[in-house]
């Protein structure tokens, strides 16, 4: 009798404790990030009950425009340095020249030689360059290239913390739209990427602080006729590109019959050459990636690395995530995107991993590939950054993946979502390959990637100190990292 009473008392105490725990004061839960995608509040409150800070929400539009994706026409179109043909400024000529220098090309190599190399490289690989872009590019001066700048993109969030506590892999990107395509108005995109070297946390924080500082500066001239924002941005770009140890050129062009071709080039010592498409699995989307497939085996063997945002495993050694450009290689491929009419994403078979981790692994492998991120996986229609007009009056629109627009539609800055709205890619009902993939569940994923990138920088600046141990850096940032698989 006494034992029964004690048992009832313990149970009652447990119930009371549970009630008090559930009724405790809680912050207003909002969506939280899980890799690139957003987790729903119901899931997230159990694992990471943290709201988006008010200073992030309140400042998100300005921060995005001035510190994440700079596309205001006062900068990209109407600032004489960003449209300059000089090799020392920030127009296409100056950016490409810097990229060659990062690749190891001597200063003595002339612009004419380098421009010819760029033309040959692009024209040799992409129909859009061979047929439209190169013929419209008079002479061998970079300044004559028919392009205009769409955006300067801060990708500090690409960084990961290595074993020594250094932050590696941040990038600065310059996005260009090729012009003169009257029949095909947006026929070729060029992205010049500067991958920054590994740096100690104090340096990285300094970079983050510099970007953060830009968000508060005016783009219009001050009383002295100076442009505070533009001047500071150029200083920062000078500092950052000087820290690059790799420069790449990514190109995406319309094929002759309405297909999309993708290519990657690397600037080397005196050359620019096509390179393998990394993170682009050479698979057939319509085929099930089951346990016997290359990718299925890879997913099982490297599950932990794939799900670790700070992984430093060298995937380059494995051909599975690399679309080799060399025709002599077995994984040689000619990467083309299915485009917005596509209806398929990568699917792993039910015999690959368990139900709890399969879709997370699948998502990371998929969303990190060029073709899926610029496609159905994020509900995008090829470009994350839209074209802009040639009158230089309007800035580029951004994809719903970036802005978090509830309908995922491309839109201007007014569509930037700072609350719990998100663009949701409806993967659940997509047609799936047969076999082991027939009954696999694909989770719908929601995105507000600019908010994630903003949060990444906020965490670097507000919740970390340079002397914090590497594990603290890893843990604080892991929810907001790009979770790149490479």
């Amino acid at each position: 009798m006494k034992r029964a009473f004690l048992l009832v008392a313990v149970l009652a105490a447990a119930c009371l404790g549970a009630f008090v725990w559930r009724a405790r004061p809680k912050p207003p839960y909002v969506y939280g990030f899980d890799g690139r995608a957003l987790a729903t509040p119901s899931v997230f409150r159990r694992i990471w009950p943290e709201p988006i800070p008010p200073e992030v929400q309140g400042n998100h539009r300005a921060f995005t425009d001035q510190a994440l994706i700079v596309r205001d026409v006062r900068v990209v179109a109407n600032d004489s340095d960003f449209t300059s043909q000089s090799l020392d400024k920030w127009g296409f000529a100056g950016v490409i020249r810097r990229a060659f220098l990062v690749g190891g090309s001597p200063q003595t190599v002339t612009e004419a030689v380098q421009a010819a190399q760029v033309k040959d490289a692009l024209g040799g690989e992409l129909y859009a360059a061979k047929a439209i872009f190169n013929p419209a590019w008079n002479g061998n001066q970079f300044g004559n290239a028919p392009v205009h700048l769409l955006a300067i993109v801060n990708r500090l969030d690409q960084a990961r913390v290595d074993g020594n506590g250094n932050l590696c892999g941040a990038e600065i990107r310059f996005d260009y739209q090729a012009l003169t395509g009257n029949v095909r108005p947006d026929y070729l995109r060029l992205i010049v990427e500067f991958a920054l070297r590994c740096v100690k946390p104090e340096f990285f924080q300094g970079w983050a602080q510099s970007w953060n500082g830009l968000a508060g500066l005016p783009m219009d001239p001050d009383e002295h006729g100076k442009y505070p924002y533009q001047d500071e941005l150029k200083t920062l770009l000078q500092q950052l590109t000087a820290q690059a140890n790799v420069a790449r050129l990514r190109a995406n062009g319309l094929g002759q019959n309405n297909d999309w071709e993708m290519r990657e080039f690397v600037f080397g010592a005196g050359s620019i050459a096509p390179f393998d498409m990394e993170r682009e699995p050479n698979i057939l989307l319509g085929k099930c990636q089951d346990a016997n497939s290359q990718l299925g085996k890879f997913a099982v063997a490297h599950k932990a690395d794939i799900l670790d945002p700070n992984n430093t495993w060298d995937y380059h050694a494995d051909p599975v995530l690399r679309c080799f450009h060399d025709p002599a290689r077995p994984n040689n491929c000619d990467p083309e995107t299915v485009g917005a009419n596509g209806t398929r994403v990568l699917v792993l078979g039910a015999d690959v991993l368990d139900d709890n981790s399969r879709d997370e692994v699948r998502h990371q492998l998929s969303v990190n590939s060029c073709s899926a991120c610029h496609g159905l996986e994020t509900r995008d229609d090829i470009h994350q950054i839209g074209p802009r007009n040639t009158e230089n009056t309007d800035e580029s629109d951004l994809s719903g993946f970036l802005t978090g627009a509830a309908d995922c539609a491309r839109g201007p800055k007014a569509t930037l979502n700072t609350d719990d709205s998100a663009c949701t890619a409806p993967l659940r009902d997509l047609p799936k390959p047969g076999g082991a993939c027939a009954d696999v569940e694909l989770a719908n994923r929601s995105y507000n990637d600019l908010l994630r990138r903003h949060m990444f920088i906020y965490k670097v600046l507000h919740e970390l100190r340079p002397k914090d141990p590497p594990d603290k850096w890893k843990n604080k940032l892991k929810m907001y990292m790009a979770l790149e698989v490479h």
Partner: protein
């Protein structure tokens, strides 16, 4: 359209069939062009009626299970009028036949070859082994594998580009799914001087029809 894809696909996989067509029209010459009526802006080729008959007699020996439209015969006669197209077709046929087995396949297989030569979006779907979504799901597994292999062949892709461009030019930008979001996006992002949409449906008389515009049931 679908019957033209089939005839083109069979031309590229059957040297005898292609040779018979070449021999039936041995000297490629350009046809005169004209308008069916002065009020219309569209132009057409003045192809003699005998050419259609001769072409049909050859085509019906390979397309045995149904009709072939006059439109398809006209397209075939048009492409045969170009020596460049013939040379390109020979090279494309060689590349295709060297890559996969092209004999004894289903009607849909030959339709698929003709379609992917003219439409890059279908070719990329095949390359990704996506068949159901473009209504080629009834191909056998072997046929699907063959088309996926062909679609991923760089030489086939380049020659297909040339084949489409010679006679269809801007229409090569049309897509199997004409008004997908990608096409709409291209137009939305276009500069002000961008003229056409991604696809205009061809018409043979002023639109809306005068009989309907002027009064119901009255003939013009």
């Amino acid at each position: 359209m679908v019957d033209f894809w089939e005839v083109l696909g069979r031309m590229l996989t059957n040297d005898n069939f292609r040779g018979r067509l070449y021999r039936a029209f041995p000297k490629p010459t350009w046809y005169d062009t004209g308008q069916e009526a002065a009020t219309l802006v569209n132009w057409g080729l003045k192809i003699p009626a005998g050419h259609y008959k001769k072409a049909r007699n050859i085509v019906k020996d390979v397309v045995k299970d149904g009709p072939v439209s006059l439109q398809t015969l006209g397209e075939i006669l048009m492409v045969l009028s170009s020596q460049h197209f013939r040379d390109n077709a020979d090279q494309l046929a060689k590349a295709i036949q060297a890559t996969v087995n092209t004999q004894g396949n289903s009607k849909l297989f030959y339709i698929g070859i003709g379609c992917m030569v003219l439409d890059g979006s279908v070719r990329v779907s095949f390359k990704n082994a996506i068949f159901d979504d473009v209504q080629f799901g009834n191909l056998s597994g072997l046929e699907q594998d063959a088309l996926a292999t062909l679609a991923g062949n760089t030489r086939v892709k380049e020659l297909s580009y040339d084949a489409c461009q010679e006679f269809w030019d801007i229409a090569c930008l049309d897509e199997y799914n004409y008004y997908g979001p990608q096409a709409a996006y291209r137009v939305a992002g276009a500069p002000k001087d961008y003229l056409p949409g991604p696809h205009l449906h061809p018409i043979v008389q002023p639109y809306p029809p005068t009989t309907h515009a002027k009064g119901k049931g009255k003939k013009a």
